[in-house]
Amino acid sequence: MIDGILAGLYTVMLPTNLMMVVIGCFVGTFIGMLPGLGPISAIALMIPITYGLEPSSGMILMAGVYYGAVFGGSTSSILINAPGCSSTVVTAFDGYPMAQKGQAGKALALAAYSSFTGGTLSAIMLLIAAPALAKVSLSFQSTDYFALMLVGLSAVAAFAGKGQVLKAWMMTILGLILATVGIDKGIGVPRFTFGLTDLLDGFSFLLLAMATFALGETLMGILKPADTSATEQSSITDLGSMKVTKEEFKELAPVSIRSSILGFFVGVLPGAGATIAAFLSYGLERNIAPKDKREEFGKGSMRGLVAPESANNAASSGSFVPLLTLGIPGSGTTAIMLGALISYGVQPGPRLYIDNPEIFWSVIISMYVGNIVLMVLNLPLIPYISKLLAVPRTVLLPMIIFFSITGVYLVSFNTMDVFIMIAVAVIAIFLRLASFPLAPLLLGFILGGLMEENLRRSLMLSDGSLSFLWERPITLGFSLTAVLVIVAPILLTLFNKYRNRPLKMQESN
């Protein structure tokens, strides 16, 4: 294995391959920054270029584009609330409020540091244990995925403001309902499509996120012009400031490390992915944060930004485990990379790191280099990019609308998607005016589809019996966690009420 790692290191250090890392990161970051265009679009663009390259160089380039795009995707999430790709949707929850408070530079810097931590930590984990991690990829069965999604859903309260828990649940259920539209993945029957071909594939997650967040926010900005005066007051130097104090660093480092590890393992699972990882780490951090910090979530919490940013980068590196060691793509992006590997005549699988050690290890080591390149590329740019917010609103708002709509169109090349997006944005405005939180809608939507599919599969596998809930230890553990997360706050309130009651009686006496 050491020989392989050295061969990989040698391959990465070849000038052409170092150049591939830089080009990949550069192209990835820029495509990722464009709202809607994420790693899939970026890699699809690079495929014709990679045809003529050596397999290692091609893979290094594509890997660079991949994590570069995830890295860059956070920029548009933070600055204009329009997620660059689906895995950076959660980044917008707290990144955008931070930018609105005049801390755009700081938010971007934190996102960069967290991405770096996530990317580097997972590259180290890959280096130490990639072949062994294949077992982790295969340790999850449908029932475990179902229970994991339950845990994710139980964190709904994390996505709701104070006193909004009921509304948050209502929006989650709306999200679950929206997830049922389209051809049913179990029995292949169209559901709620009203005979429209365009609804057969269901709604796209990115479209919903763009419509509810970017478009919704912009249209609200037009409806309530006085609301954002705070941004205009904050001076341009403030926007670009990237200072993170020592105390903040001490507070955020454990958050980032925890989220990186969580994100990495979720990424290793072929049935989950970076978007799920971001949602889960956000929910986890909100639940374990001290009470005063917890209330900041959704209003510009630094923890709420660092957690998903570390997790999504770690997860995208983690997704290389099933790809390289088993030949199983966990996401659309890794499916394209699998196709590219096969067209090079390289078959990923348990023999890859034995037969082609230079490819296997060079991809992993290039991630380490790539993360440094991304930092060097991005940090100096932050003060300039963040000044985008200093652009007059009359120019900025139409620009956001333009980029959001073209972004959604360029993913599917379907004009119907643009109309659906506008319709969703209009509905989202009414929901916003009635102060319904929209993040739980996205949570319900992204988890709903996976949850239904895995539950159904579990039921078919157990011939309709519910015994799967307690037969597998992983499932049982997750299910209990979910129940605990939901029930604990209720019990705690009841307990506090019970304890306070005698005191009150004494007082009244």
Binding site: I40, Q141, I183, D201, A335, Q347, G349, P350, L461
Partner: protein, 325 residues
Amino acid sequence: MLNNIKKCLSYSIIAASIATLSTTALAADLAELHFIIPGGAGGGWDMTARGTGDVLMKEDLVDQVSFQNLSGGGGGKAIAHLIETAERQEDTLMVNSTPIVIRSLSGIFPNSFRDLTPVASTIADFGAMVVAADSKYTDWQQVVADFKKDPKAVKIGGGSARGSMDHLVAAAVFKGEGFDPRQVRYIAYDAGGKAMAGLLSGETPILSTGLGEVLEMSKSGLVRILAITAPERLAAAPNVPTLTEMGNETVFANWRGFFAAPGASKEKLAAWDKAFTAMYKTDQWATVRDRNGWIDNYKADQDFYKFLEEQEEQMGDLMRELGFL
């Protein structure tokens, strides 16, 4: 009078075909070819179109090749687009495969292959019944014996919904063993990769998939192929037994091929036929084909149309029996 017209027509057709023959003979290659891919990048359709287009261009059979991914509606979006813009699509080929037959039968989209011009099927993949390397099954007869004892105990995974190809192939295979295909317990996954993860994690004992997807994996010792639905053993996989040699007459080929817009001209069809025929002889094609585990299966024009009709009948009968129609 009528006879005269007929004569006239047949002469003109002959004349026209002679004319086209001579023009195609003069112009050695096609000027341009545009591929519509009804699915996303990296999928089977995408790889087929890009692999074919790449070889055609590198071998100078076509000067300019372009690709367009147009996903949506299980492929229906691309079909509708090709029909709507037929006049502008003279140099366009859409890649497709067996699902176009199945999905038009089940009504996912309103059109069928009859609304397009079938150009040619170029490659085929056979159905494969696969188990994990550490499975208790070492040959197909053990699976059949277990199914006979308790059909519920033999669960079969696949990378698509119930009623789609992986399920129909599994149902056909067990029907060929003399069982009721409705007793097959099919577990649907939403992608081939996830179905493979389900097999390797021990969730489903057997996987129904395409040979091309698992041939390399079986060589690296991750999975074992118990049987394939080819009519005879394949040169690419000489050690993999076919169902026919075990007395199960089920033969199924998942073809991949190309369609043109409705009303494509005879000249074009002839030119495409020529380009594909020439392509098969190149080393470049042999490399791409073997890498992807494809098997040459060239049927052009009328042969292809007839094959599609036969497959529609085979699939239709099975879907009716299973209660999907």
